[in-house]
Protein backbone atom coordinates (compact mmCIF):
# COMPACT_ATOMS: atom_id res chain seq x y z
CA UNK A 1 0.00 0.00 0.00
CA UNK A 2 2.82 2.37 0.90
CA UNK A 3 4.42 1.91 -2.51
CA UNK A 4 1.13 2.63 -4.25
CA UNK A 5 0.80 5.77 -2.12
CA UNK A 6 4.26 6.89 -3.10
CA UNK A 7 3.47 6.63 -6.78
CA UNK A 8 0.19 8.51 -6.36
CA UNK A 9 2.00 11.07 -4.25
CA UNK A 10 4.57 11.67 -6.99
CA UNK A 11 1.96 12.19 -9.70
CA UNK A 12 -0.22 14.30 -7.46
CA UNK A 13 2.66 16.56 -6.45
CA UNK A 14 3.73 16.94 -10.05
CA UNK A 15 0.17 17.85 -11.02
CA UNK A 16 -0.22 20.35 -8.17
CA UNK A 17 3.15 21.96 -8.70
CA UNK A 18 2.81 22.51 -12.42
CA UNK A 19 -0.82 23.59 -12.56
CA UNK A 20 -0.45 25.98 -9.63
CA UNK A 21 2.75 27.41 -11.07
CA UNK A 22 1.30 27.90 -14.54
CA UNK A 23 -2.00 29.37 -13.37
CA UNK A 24 -0.35 31.91 -11.07
CA UNK A 25 2.14 32.76 -13.80
CA UNK A 26 -0.72 33.27 -16.24
CA UNK A 27 -2.53 35.59 -13.83
CA UNK A 28 0.65 37.54 -13.19
CA UNK A 29 1.41 37.99 -16.88
CA UNK A 30 -2.19 38.90 -17.71
CA UNK A 31 -2.39 41.56 -14.99
CA UNK A 32 1.05 42.92 -15.79
CA UNK A 33 0.31 43.25 -19.48
CA UNK A 34 -2.95 44.89 -18.62
CA UNK A 35 -0.99 47.64 -16.87
CA UNK A 36 1.52 47.92 -19.72
CA UNK A 37 -1.23 48.04 -22.33
CA UNK A 38 -3.18 50.63 -20.41
CA UNK A 39 -0.28 53.03 -20.12
CA UNK A 40 1.47 52.19 -23.37
CA UNK A 41 -1.47 51.78 -25.70
CA UNK A 42 -4.52 52.94 -23.70
CA UNK A 43 -6.00 49.53 -24.21
CA UNK A 44 -7.19 47.03 -21.66
CA UNK A 45 -7.81 43.32 -21.69
CA UNK A 46 -11.41 42.63 -20.82
CA UNK A 47 -10.74 39.00 -19.99
CA UNK A 48 -7.86 39.51 -17.59
CA UNK A 49 -10.07 40.14 -14.57
CA UNK A 50 -12.12 37.05 -15.21
CA UNK A 51 -9.05 34.94 -15.80
CA UNK A 52 -7.60 36.14 -12.51
CA UNK A 53 -10.77 35.27 -10.65
CA UNK A 54 -10.67 31.77 -12.06
CA UNK A 55 -7.01 31.46 -11.13
CA UNK A 56 -7.84 32.42 -7.56
CA UNK A 57 -10.54 29.76 -7.40
CA UNK A 58 -8.17 27.17 -8.81
CA UNK A 59 -5.14 28.02 -6.68
CA UNK A 60 -7.15 28.23 -3.48
CA UNK A 61 -8.86 24.90 -3.84
CA UNK A 62 -5.97 22.92 -5.29
CA UNK A 63 -3.52 24.72 -3.01
CA UNK A 64 -5.48 23.38 -0.05
CA UNK A 65 -4.66 19.85 -1.07
CA UNK A 66 -0.99 20.73 -1.51
CA UNK A 67 -1.06 22.39 1.91
CA UNK A 68 -2.03 19.11 3.58
CA UNK A 69 1.14 17.52 2.22
CA UNK A 70 3.42 20.34 3.32
CA UNK A 71 1.53 20.53 6.65
CA UNK A 72 0.89 24.19 5.94
CA UNK A 73 -2.84 24.19 6.68
CA UNK A 74 -3.60 26.83 9.30
CA UNK A 75 -4.43 25.13 12.56
CA UNK A 76 -4.40 26.27 16.14
CA UNK A 77 -1.65 24.30 17.83
CA UNK A 78 -1.97 25.83 21.29
CA UNK A 79 -3.28 22.66 22.92
CA UNK A 80 -0.88 20.43 21.03
CA UNK A 81 2.09 22.52 22.15
CA UNK A 82 1.04 22.80 25.75
CA UNK A 83 0.07 19.12 26.12
CA UNK A 84 2.33 17.18 23.73
CA UNK A 85 0.73 13.89 24.77
CA UNK A 86 -2.45 14.93 22.99
CA UNK A 87 -0.66 15.56 19.72
CA UNK A 88 -1.11 12.11 18.22
CA UNK A 89 -4.79 11.53 19.11
CA UNK A 90 -5.72 15.07 18.07
CA UNK A 91 -3.85 14.68 14.78
CA UNK A 92 -5.84 11.51 14.04
CA UNK A 93 -9.07 13.23 15.02
CA UNK A 94 -8.22 16.11 12.74
CA UNK A 95 -7.59 13.71 9.85
CA UNK A 96 -10.99 12.15 10.49
CA UNK A 97 -12.70 15.54 10.38
CA UNK A 98 -10.90 16.35 7.14
CA UNK A 99 -12.17 13.13 5.60
CA UNK A 100 -15.73 14.02 6.56
CA UNK A 101 -15.24 17.46 5.07
CA UNK A 102 -13.91 15.93 1.86
CA UNK A 103 -16.95 13.68 1.57
CA UNK A 104 -19.26 16.68 2.06
CA UNK A 105 -17.38 18.55 -0.65
CA UNK A 106 -17.76 15.66 -3.06
CA UNK A 107 -21.42 15.03 -2.24
CA UNK A 108 -22.64 18.61 -2.49
CA UNK A 109 -20.03 19.55 -5.09
CA UNK A 110 -21.42 16.98 -7.50
CA UNK A 111 -24.94 18.25 -6.87
CA UNK A 112 -23.85 21.82 -7.55
CA UNK A 113 -22.14 20.67 -10.75
CA UNK A 114 -25.34 18.95 -11.85
CA UNK A 115 -27.24 22.20 -11.24
CA UNK A 116 -24.76 24.10 -13.42
CA UNK A 117 -25.13 21.57 -16.22
CA UNK A 118 -28.90 21.83 -16.04
CA UNK A 119 -28.87 25.62 -16.18
CA UNK A 120 -26.15 25.61 -18.84
CA UNK A 121 -24.47 28.68 -17.33
CA UNK A 122 -21.10 29.90 -18.50
CA UNK A 123 -18.81 32.77 -17.51
CA UNK A 124 -19.41 36.20 -19.04
CA UNK A 125 -16.36 36.85 -21.14
CA UNK A 126 -14.34 33.70 -21.54
CA UNK A 127 -17.50 31.63 -21.90
CA UNK A 128 -16.28 28.80 -19.71
CA UNK A 129 -19.17 26.61 -18.57
CA UNK A 130 -19.44 27.17 -14.82
CA UNK A 131 -19.65 23.45 -14.24
CA UNK A 132 -15.88 23.29 -14.80
CA UNK A 133 -15.36 25.81 -12.01
CA UNK A 134 -17.73 24.06 -9.62
CA UNK A 135 -15.97 20.80 -10.45
CA UNK A 136 -13.15 22.16 -8.30
CA UNK A 137 -15.18 21.29 -5.18
CA UNK A 138 -15.42 17.53 -5.79
CA UNK A 139 -11.87 17.62 -7.18
CA UNK A 140 -10.62 19.12 -3.92
CA UNK A 141 -12.63 16.47 -2.07
CA UNK A 142 -10.91 13.65 -3.94
CA UNK A 143 -7.43 15.18 -3.67
CA UNK A 144 -8.02 15.78 0.00
CA UNK A 145 -8.98 12.17 0.70
CA UNK A 146 -5.82 10.96 -1.04
CA UNK A 147 -3.62 13.47 0.77
CA UNK A 148 -5.15 12.87 4.19
CA UNK A 149 -4.83 9.08 3.88
CA UNK A 150 -1.19 9.46 2.87
CA UNK A 151 -0.32 11.82 5.68
CA UNK A 152 -2.19 9.68 8.20
CA UNK A 153 -0.25 6.62 6.99
CA UNK A 154 3.02 8.52 7.42
CA UNK A 155 2.07 9.63 10.93
CA UNK A 156 0.86 6.22 12.03
CA UNK A 157 4.05 4.55 10.76
CA UNK A 158 6.19 7.15 12.50
CA UNK A 159 4.28 6.57 15.72
CA UNK A 160 4.58 2.79 15.46
CA UNK A 161 8.30 2.89 14.84
CA UNK A 162 8.77 5.41 17.66
CA UNK A 163 6.87 3.18 20.07
CA UNK A 164 8.56 0.01 18.80
CA UNK A 165 12.06 1.49 18.80
Amino acid sequence: MIRGFRRIDRWLSLFEEWTLFLSVLAAMIALFFNVVLRYGFSYSLAWSEELVREVILYTTFVGCSAAIRSRATVRIDAVVQLVPRLQYPLALFSYGVQLVFAVILIYYGVQLCALQVKSGQSTLILNIPTVYLYALLPLLGVLMILRVLMMAAVDIRARRSALGG
Binding site: V24, A66, A67, A72, T73, V74, I76, Q81, Y108
Partner: protein, 441 residues
Protein backbone atom coordinates in the same frame (compact mmCIF):
# COMPACT_ATOMS: atom_id res chain seq x y z
CA UNK B 1 -27.83 35.89 23.40
CA UNK B 2 -29.57 32.59 23.17
CA UNK B 3 -28.47 29.11 23.83
CA UNK B 4 -28.04 28.25 20.15
CA UNK B 5 -25.44 30.92 19.43
CA UNK B 6 -23.46 30.19 22.58
CA UNK B 7 -23.52 26.46 21.85
CA UNK B 8 -22.24 27.08 18.33
CA UNK B 9 -19.49 29.40 19.57
CA UNK B 10 -18.39 26.76 22.05
CA UNK B 11 -18.32 24.14 19.29
CA UNK B 12 -16.21 26.50 17.21
CA UNK B 13 -13.69 27.04 20.02
CA UNK B 14 -13.65 23.31 20.73
CA UNK B 15 -12.98 22.43 17.11
CA UNK B 16 -10.22 25.03 16.90
CA UNK B 17 -8.62 23.69 20.07
CA UNK B 18 -8.89 20.13 18.76
CA UNK B 19 -6.42 20.84 15.96
CA UNK B 20 -9.07 20.90 13.24
CA UNK B 21 -7.98 23.23 10.40
CA UNK B 22 -9.35 26.72 11.00
CA UNK B 23 -11.37 26.93 7.80
CA UNK B 24 -13.02 23.56 8.45
CA UNK B 25 -13.90 24.50 12.01
CA UNK B 26 -15.64 27.59 10.66
CA UNK B 27 -17.38 25.71 7.87
CA UNK B 28 -18.58 22.89 10.11
CA UNK B 29 -19.85 25.09 12.92
CA UNK B 30 -21.70 27.24 10.39
CA UNK B 31 -23.17 24.11 8.83
CA UNK B 32 -24.09 22.59 12.20
CA UNK B 33 -25.74 25.83 13.20
CA UNK B 34 -27.97 25.66 10.17
CA UNK B 35 -28.68 21.94 10.57
CA UNK B 36 -29.68 22.23 14.22
CA UNK B 37 -31.35 25.59 14.45
CA UNK B 38 -32.66 26.51 11.02
CA UNK B 39 -36.19 25.43 10.13
CA UNK B 40 -35.10 24.75 6.55
CA UNK B 41 -31.39 23.94 6.49
CA UNK B 42 -29.87 23.98 3.05
CA UNK B 43 -26.39 22.51 3.17
CA UNK B 44 -26.18 22.85 -0.59
CA UNK B 45 -26.38 26.64 -0.28
CA UNK B 46 -23.71 26.69 2.42
CA UNK B 47 -21.40 24.68 0.19
CA UNK B 48 -22.17 27.07 -2.61
CA UNK B 49 -21.30 30.13 -0.55
CA UNK B 50 -18.08 28.38 0.45
CA UNK B 51 -17.28 28.26 -3.27
CA UNK B 52 -18.71 31.64 -4.26
CA UNK B 53 -16.76 33.57 -1.64
CA UNK B 54 -13.57 32.68 -3.52
CA UNK B 55 -14.90 34.12 -6.79
CA UNK B 56 -13.64 37.57 -5.92
CA UNK B 57 -11.17 39.65 -7.88
CA UNK B 58 -10.01 41.60 -4.82
CA UNK B 59 -8.53 38.46 -3.23
CA UNK B 60 -5.79 38.21 -5.82
CA UNK B 61 -3.87 40.95 -4.07
CA UNK B 62 -3.26 38.57 -1.15
CA UNK B 63 -1.65 36.04 -3.46
CA UNK B 64 0.65 38.56 -5.10
CA UNK B 65 1.80 40.31 -1.95
CA UNK B 66 2.68 36.91 -0.50
CA UNK B 67 4.50 36.04 -3.70
CA UNK B 68 6.39 39.32 -3.53
CA UNK B 69 7.49 38.63 0.05
CA UNK B 70 8.61 35.13 -0.89
CA UNK B 71 10.64 36.35 -3.87
CA UNK B 72 12.40 38.86 -1.62
CA UNK B 73 13.18 36.21 0.97
CA UNK B 74 14.31 33.59 -1.55
CA UNK B 75 16.57 36.13 -3.22
CA UNK B 76 18.64 38.78 -1.51
CA UNK B 77 16.32 41.79 -1.31
CA UNK B 78 15.53 41.23 2.39
CA UNK B 79 19.19 40.81 3.21
CA UNK B 80 20.08 44.04 1.45
CA UNK B 81 17.25 45.97 3.14
CA UNK B 82 18.46 44.81 6.56
CA UNK B 83 22.01 45.77 5.66
CA UNK B 84 20.96 49.31 4.78
CA UNK B 85 18.98 49.72 8.00
CA UNK B 86 21.71 48.18 10.08
CA UNK B 87 24.37 50.52 8.70
CA UNK B 88 22.21 53.48 9.56
CA UNK B 89 21.49 52.56 13.20
CA UNK B 90 24.18 50.10 14.31
CA UNK B 91 26.29 52.82 15.95
CA UNK B 92 23.52 53.49 18.49
CA UNK B 93 23.24 51.46 21.70
CA UNK B 94 21.07 48.45 20.87
CA UNK B 95 21.53 49.25 17.19
CA UNK B 96 21.04 45.73 15.93
CA UNK B 97 17.76 45.45 17.82
CA UNK B 98 16.59 48.71 16.27
CA UNK B 99 17.63 47.36 12.87
CA UNK B 100 15.49 44.28 13.47
CA UNK B 101 12.45 46.40 14.26
CA UNK B 102 12.98 48.83 11.40
CA UNK B 103 13.64 45.92 9.06
CA UNK B 104 10.23 44.48 9.96
CA UNK B 105 8.70 47.83 9.13
CA UNK B 106 10.44 47.94 5.78
CA UNK B 107 9.48 44.36 5.01
CA UNK B 108 5.92 45.14 6.09
CA UNK B 109 5.93 47.96 3.56
CA UNK B 110 6.18 45.32 0.86
CA UNK B 111 4.50 42.27 2.30
CA UNK B 112 1.01 42.39 3.72
CA UNK B 113 1.33 39.53 6.13
CA UNK B 114 2.66 39.24 9.66
CA UNK B 115 3.38 35.54 9.38
CA UNK B 116 5.53 36.16 6.29
CA UNK B 117 7.43 38.83 8.22
CA UNK B 118 8.05 36.59 11.24
CA UNK B 119 9.33 33.80 9.03
CA UNK B 120 11.45 36.07 6.83
CA UNK B 121 13.09 38.16 9.55
CA UNK B 122 12.78 36.18 12.76
CA UNK B 123 14.69 33.28 11.23
CA UNK B 124 17.95 35.15 10.97
CA UNK B 125 17.52 38.14 13.28
CA UNK B 126 17.01 36.13 16.48
CA UNK B 127 20.23 34.09 16.15
CA UNK B 128 22.06 37.23 14.99
CA UNK B 129 20.88 39.21 18.04
CA UNK B 130 21.82 36.45 20.47
CA UNK B 131 25.24 35.98 18.86
CA UNK B 132 25.88 39.69 19.26
CA UNK B 133 25.26 39.48 22.98
CA UNK B 134 21.65 40.60 23.23
CA UNK B 135 19.62 38.90 25.98
CA UNK B 136 17.53 36.02 24.59
CA UNK B 137 14.36 37.39 26.07
CA UNK B 138 14.86 40.74 24.35
CA UNK B 139 15.60 39.07 21.00
CA UNK B 140 12.56 36.81 21.20
CA UNK B 141 10.21 39.56 22.37
CA UNK B 142 11.39 42.00 19.75
CA UNK B 143 11.17 39.62 16.84
CA UNK B 144 7.78 38.24 17.89
CA UNK B 145 6.12 41.63 18.15
CA UNK B 146 7.83 43.75 15.49
CA UNK B 147 6.44 41.65 12.61
CA UNK B 148 3.02 43.07 13.58
CA UNK B 149 4.20 45.99 11.49
CA UNK B 150 3.62 43.66 8.53
CA UNK B 151 -0.12 44.22 8.65
CA UNK B 152 -0.08 47.64 10.27
CA UNK B 153 2.15 49.21 7.63
CA UNK B 154 0.50 48.96 4.21
CA UNK B 155 -0.07 46.83 2.23
CA UNK B 156 -2.02 44.73 4.68
CA UNK B 157 -4.19 41.64 4.34
CA UNK B 158 -6.55 42.61 7.12
CA UNK B 159 -7.06 46.09 5.66
CA UNK B 160 -7.87 44.53 2.28
CA UNK B 161 -10.52 42.32 3.89
CA UNK B 162 -11.93 45.23 5.89
CA UNK B 163 -12.40 47.20 2.69
CA UNK B 164 -14.17 44.23 1.15
CA UNK B 165 -16.84 44.32 3.84
CA UNK B 166 -17.22 48.11 3.94
CA UNK B 167 -17.11 50.86 1.35
CA UNK B 168 -13.93 52.39 2.71
CA UNK B 169 -11.27 53.34 0.18
CA UNK B 170 -8.44 50.82 0.32
CA UNK B 171 -5.81 53.40 -0.52
CA UNK B 172 -7.12 55.62 2.25
CA UNK B 173 -7.11 52.85 4.83
CA UNK B 174 -3.59 51.90 3.75
CA UNK B 175 -2.48 55.47 4.39
CA UNK B 176 -3.75 55.40 7.97
CA UNK B 177 -1.29 52.61 8.76
CA UNK B 178 1.82 54.74 8.39
CA UNK B 179 1.49 56.85 11.52
CA UNK B 180 0.90 54.00 14.00
CA UNK B 181 3.58 51.97 12.23
CA UNK B 182 6.13 54.75 12.58
CA UNK B 183 5.07 55.41 16.18
CA UNK B 184 5.56 51.74 17.08
CA UNK B 185 8.97 51.65 15.40
CA UNK B 186 9.99 54.89 17.09
CA UNK B 187 8.83 53.81 20.54
CA UNK B 188 10.46 50.39 20.20
CA UNK B 189 13.75 52.03 19.20
CA UNK B 190 13.58 54.47 22.12
CA UNK B 191 12.86 51.59 24.50
CA UNK B 192 15.81 49.70 23.05
CA UNK B 193 18.02 52.77 23.41
CA UNK B 194 17.26 53.18 27.09
CA UNK B 195 17.54 49.45 27.73
CA UNK B 196 21.07 49.23 26.36
CA UNK B 197 22.29 52.77 27.00
CA UNK B 198 24.67 51.76 29.77
CA UNK B 199 25.32 48.26 28.53
CA UNK B 200 28.99 47.33 28.28
CA UNK B 201 28.68 43.85 26.79
CA UNK B 202 27.25 44.81 23.42
CA UNK B 203 29.72 45.77 20.76
CA UNK B 204 28.92 49.20 19.47
CA UNK B 205 29.83 49.94 15.87
CA UNK B 206 31.61 53.19 15.01
CA UNK B 207 29.52 55.87 13.33
CA UNK B 208 29.56 55.01 9.62
CA UNK B 209 31.31 57.44 7.33
CA UNK B 210 29.53 59.21 4.53
CA UNK B 211 31.23 57.06 1.94
CA UNK B 212 30.24 53.83 3.69
CA UNK B 213 26.60 54.89 3.88
CA UNK B 214 26.68 55.82 0.22
CA UNK B 215 28.08 52.47 -0.86
CA UNK B 216 25.54 50.51 1.18
CA UNK B 217 22.75 52.65 -0.21
CA UNK B 218 24.00 52.07 -3.72
CA UNK B 219 24.08 48.34 -3.15
CA UNK B 220 20.59 48.39 -1.64
CA UNK B 221 19.16 50.78 -4.19
CA UNK B 222 17.24 48.16 -6.18
CA UNK B 223 15.73 46.73 -3.01
CA UNK B 224 14.77 50.14 -1.63
CA UNK B 225 13.03 50.99 -4.88
CA UNK B 226 10.52 48.18 -4.32
CA UNK B 227 8.49 49.86 -1.54
CA UNK B 228 8.82 53.13 -3.45
CA UNK B 229 7.21 51.54 -6.52
CA UNK B 230 4.40 50.08 -4.44
CA UNK B 231 3.63 53.32 -2.60
CA UNK B 232 4.02 55.76 -5.47
CA UNK B 233 2.06 53.45 -7.76
CA UNK B 234 -0.81 52.90 -5.34
CA UNK B 235 -1.15 56.34 -3.85
CA UNK B 236 -0.72 58.33 -7.04
CA UNK B 237 -3.62 56.40 -8.50
CA UNK B 238 -1.40 54.89 -11.17
CA UNK B 239 -2.15 51.32 -10.12
CA UNK B 240 -4.90 49.65 -8.18
CA UNK B 241 -3.73 47.63 -5.18
CA UNK B 242 -3.92 44.45 -7.27
CA UNK B 243 -1.80 45.93 -10.01
CA UNK B 244 0.71 47.32 -7.53
CA UNK B 245 1.15 43.83 -6.10
CA UNK B 246 1.66 42.31 -9.54
CA UNK B 247 4.05 45.03 -10.67
CA UNK B 248 6.00 44.56 -7.42
CA UNK B 249 6.28 40.82 -8.13
CA UNK B 250 7.49 41.38 -11.69
CA UNK B 251 9.96 43.97 -10.42
CA UNK B 252 11.21 41.70 -7.62
CA UNK B 253 11.66 38.80 -10.05
CA UNK B 254 13.54 41.04 -12.47
CA UNK B 255 15.85 42.35 -9.75
CA UNK B 256 16.57 38.91 -8.30
CA UNK B 257 17.05 37.19 -11.66
CA UNK B 258 18.95 39.82 -13.63
CA UNK B 259 20.48 42.32 -11.22
CA UNK B 260 21.26 40.56 -7.95
CA UNK B 261 21.40 37.20 -9.77
CA UNK B 262 20.82 35.41 -6.45
CA UNK B 263 17.84 33.52 -7.79
CA UNK B 264 18.05 30.91 -10.50
CA UNK B 265 15.36 30.28 -13.10
CA UNK B 266 14.79 26.91 -11.51
CA UNK B 267 13.77 28.63 -8.26
CA UNK B 268 10.97 30.56 -9.92
CA UNK B 269 8.64 27.61 -10.08
CA UNK B 270 9.29 26.67 -6.46
CA UNK B 271 8.72 30.21 -5.18
CA UNK B 272 5.48 30.59 -7.13
CA UNK B 273 4.21 27.19 -6.04
CA UNK B 274 4.99 27.85 -2.38
CA UNK B 275 3.30 31.22 -2.52
CA UNK B 276 0.21 29.71 -4.14
CA UNK B 277 0.01 27.18 -1.30
CA UNK B 278 0.53 29.82 1.40
CA UNK B 279 -2.06 32.11 -0.08
CA UNK B 280 -4.53 29.23 -0.43
CA UNK B 281 -4.16 28.40 3.26
CA UNK B 282 -5.16 32.01 4.06
CA UNK B 283 -7.85 32.50 1.43
CA UNK B 284 -9.65 29.29 2.29
CA UNK B 285 -10.19 30.76 5.77
CA UNK B 286 -12.11 33.54 4.02
CA UNK B 287 -14.36 30.85 2.55
CA UNK B 288 -14.88 29.18 5.93
CA UNK B 289 -15.50 32.50 7.66
CA UNK B 290 -18.11 33.37 5.03
CA UNK B 291 -20.07 30.22 5.88
CA UNK B 292 -19.87 30.93 9.59
CA UNK B 293 -20.82 34.56 8.98
CA UNK B 294 -23.92 33.40 7.12
CA UNK B 295 -24.99 31.50 10.20
CA UNK B 296 -24.47 34.54 12.43
CA UNK B 297 -26.53 36.65 10.04
CA UNK B 298 -29.22 34.00 10.00
CA UNK B 299 -29.41 34.12 13.79
CA UNK B 300 -29.54 37.89 13.53
CA UNK B 301 -26.56 38.16 15.84
CA UNK B 302 -25.32 41.52 14.49
CA UNK B 303 -28.63 43.21 15.27
CA UNK B 304 -28.86 41.65 18.72
CA UNK B 305 -25.35 42.73 19.63
CA UNK B 306 -26.05 46.20 18.29
CA UNK B 307 -29.10 46.44 20.49
CA UNK B 308 -27.22 45.34 23.58
CA UNK B 309 -24.31 47.68 22.91
CA UNK B 310 -26.47 50.72 22.27
CA UNK B 311 -28.42 50.01 25.42
CA UNK B 312 -25.37 49.81 27.66
CA UNK B 313 -22.86 52.17 26.13
CA UNK B 314 -23.60 55.81 25.63
CA UNK B 315 -20.45 57.71 24.79
CA UNK B 316 -18.17 57.23 21.76
CA UNK B 317 -15.14 57.12 24.07
CA UNK B 318 -16.62 54.24 26.02
CA UNK B 319 -17.61 52.53 22.79
CA UNK B 320 -14.06 52.71 21.42
CA UNK B 321 -12.65 51.44 24.71
CA UNK B 322 -15.10 48.55 24.69
CA UNK B 323 -14.25 47.77 21.07
CA UNK B 324 -10.52 47.77 21.78
CA UNK B 325 -10.92 45.40 24.71
CA UNK B 326 -13.30 43.24 22.70
CA UNK B 327 -10.93 43.00 19.74
CA UNK B 328 -7.94 42.27 21.97
CA UNK B 329 -10.01 39.44 23.42
CA UNK B 330 -11.11 38.20 19.99
CA UNK B 331 -7.50 38.38 18.80
CA UNK B 332 -6.53 35.97 21.55
CA UNK B 333 -8.69 33.27 20.01
CA UNK B 334 -9.18 33.96 16.32
CA UNK B 335 -6.73 34.60 13.53
CA UNK B 336 -6.78 37.91 11.73
CA UNK B 337 -8.76 36.76 8.69
CA UNK B 338 -11.62 35.03 10.47
CA UNK B 339 -11.77 37.79 13.08
CA UNK B 340 -12.08 40.51 10.45
CA UNK B 341 -14.71 38.67 8.43
CA UNK B 342 -16.77 37.38 11.35
CA UNK B 343 -16.58 40.16 13.89
CA UNK B 344 -16.34 43.00 11.37
CA UNK B 345 -19.89 42.69 9.98
CA UNK B 346 -21.19 42.36 13.55
CA UNK B 347 -19.77 45.61 14.87
CA UNK B 348 -19.48 47.80 11.77
CA UNK B 349 -23.21 48.65 11.64
CA UNK B 350 -22.77 50.21 15.10
CA UNK B 351 -20.31 52.86 14.00
CA UNK B 352 -22.76 55.54 12.81
CA UNK B 353 -24.51 55.42 16.19
CA UNK B 354 -21.35 56.59 17.89
CA UNK B 355 -20.07 58.82 15.14
CA UNK B 356 -16.99 56.67 14.62
CA UNK B 357 -15.28 57.03 11.28
CA UNK B 358 -15.24 53.84 9.18
CA UNK B 359 -11.67 54.32 8.03
CA UNK B 360 -10.46 55.05 11.56
CA UNK B 361 -12.21 51.94 12.80
CA UNK B 362 -10.60 49.81 10.08
CA UNK B 363 -7.21 50.89 11.35
CA UNK B 364 -8.13 50.20 14.98
CA UNK B 365 -9.30 46.73 14.05
CA UNK B 366 -6.06 46.06 12.20
CA UNK B 367 -3.83 47.20 15.06
CA UNK B 368 -5.90 45.26 17.61
CA UNK B 369 -5.82 42.06 15.62
CA UNK B 370 -2.12 42.56 14.89
CA UNK B 371 -1.52 42.56 18.64
CA UNK B 372 -3.54 39.34 18.70
CA UNK B 373 -0.70 37.67 16.78
CA UNK B 374 1.31 37.87 19.99
CA UNK B 375 -1.23 37.10 22.70
CA UNK B 376 -1.78 33.62 24.12
CA UNK B 377 -3.40 31.17 23.75
CA UNK B 378 -3.73 31.61 19.97
CA UNK B 379 -0.88 33.85 18.93
CA UNK B 380 0.49 32.61 15.64
CA UNK B 381 3.71 34.63 15.85
CA UNK B 382 4.49 33.27 19.31
CA UNK B 383 4.40 29.71 18.12
CA UNK B 384 6.51 30.42 15.05
CA UNK B 385 9.14 32.27 17.07
CA UNK B 386 8.98 29.61 19.76
CA UNK B 387 9.95 26.98 17.24
CA UNK B 388 12.60 29.18 15.58
CA UNK B 389 14.25 30.08 18.89
CA UNK B 390 13.58 26.71 20.50
CA UNK B 391 11.82 28.29 23.48
CA UNK B 392 8.56 27.23 25.03
CA UNK B 393 5.44 29.29 24.73
CA UNK B 394 5.50 30.59 28.30
CA UNK B 395 8.96 32.04 27.74
CA UNK B 396 7.79 33.80 24.59
CA UNK B 397 4.67 35.05 26.36
CA UNK B 398 6.80 36.70 29.04
CA UNK B 399 9.28 38.08 26.50
CA UNK B 400 6.68 39.97 24.49
CA UNK B 401 5.24 41.92 27.44
CA UNK B 402 7.20 45.21 27.21
CA UNK B 403 6.87 45.34 23.43
CA UNK B 404 3.16 44.65 23.51
CA UNK B 405 2.79 47.39 26.12
CA UNK B 406 4.30 49.80 23.59
CA UNK B 407 1.93 48.64 20.86
CA UNK B 408 -1.10 48.84 23.11
CA UNK B 409 -0.01 52.34 24.11
CA UNK B 410 0.14 53.36 20.45
CA UNK B 411 -3.22 51.68 19.88
CA UNK B 412 -4.87 53.81 22.55
CA UNK B 413 -3.16 56.92 21.24
CA UNK B 414 -4.58 56.45 17.75
CA UNK B 415 -7.93 55.37 19.19
CA UNK B 416 -8.54 58.67 20.92
CA UNK B 417 -6.78 60.92 18.45
CA UNK B 418 -8.40 59.93 15.14
CA UNK B 419 -6.94 62.94 13.37
CA UNK B 420 -3.48 61.62 14.07
CA UNK B 421 -4.09 58.91 11.49
CA UNK B 422 -6.80 60.44 9.32
CA UNK B 423 -4.96 63.59 8.26
CA UNK B 424 -2.87 61.62 5.78
CA UNK B 425 -5.73 60.09 3.75
CA UNK B 426 -7.65 63.37 4.06
CA UNK B 427 -4.70 65.35 2.79
CA UNK B 428 -4.19 62.97 -0.14
CA UNK B 429 -7.88 62.97 -0.98
CA UNK B 430 -8.73 59.37 -0.19
CA UNK B 431 -11.03 60.06 2.73
CA UNK B 432 -14.72 60.72 2.45
CA UNK B 433 -17.44 60.63 5.03
CA UNK B 434 -19.43 57.43 4.61
CA UNK B 435 -22.93 57.54 5.98
CA UNK B 436 -23.87 53.89 5.76
CA UNK B 437 -21.93 50.75 5.17
CA UNK B 438 -23.03 47.75 3.21
CA UNK B 439 -21.66 44.55 4.70
CA UNK B 440 -21.00 42.34 1.70
CA UNK B 441 -21.06 39.04 3.49
Amino acid sequence: MEFSVIAILLILLGALAAYVPVYMSLFFTGLLGFLFFAPDPQPLLITQSFFKSMDNFALVVVLFFILCGNIMTAGSIVEKLIKVVNTLVSWLPGGLGMAGCLGCGLFGAISGSTVATVVALGGFMIPALIQNGYPGRYAVGLMTTSPNLGIIIPPSISMILYCMITNVSLQGLFLTGFVPGILIMGATCVYTYFLFRNDTVLVRMPVPGFREVLSVLREGLWSLLLPVIIFVGTFSGMFTANEAAVVACVYAFTVELFIHRTMKWGDVKKVIFNSAVTSSTLLIIVAGATCFGRYLTFENVPAKIAEAVIEHISSPAMFLLAMNLFFLLVGMFLDVISATLIVGPVVIPLLPNFGVDFMHFGLLMTVNLAIGYCTPPVGVSMYIVGSIANKNILYVARAVVPFLAIQIGVLFLVTYLPDLVLWLPKWMGFWEAIETSAPAL
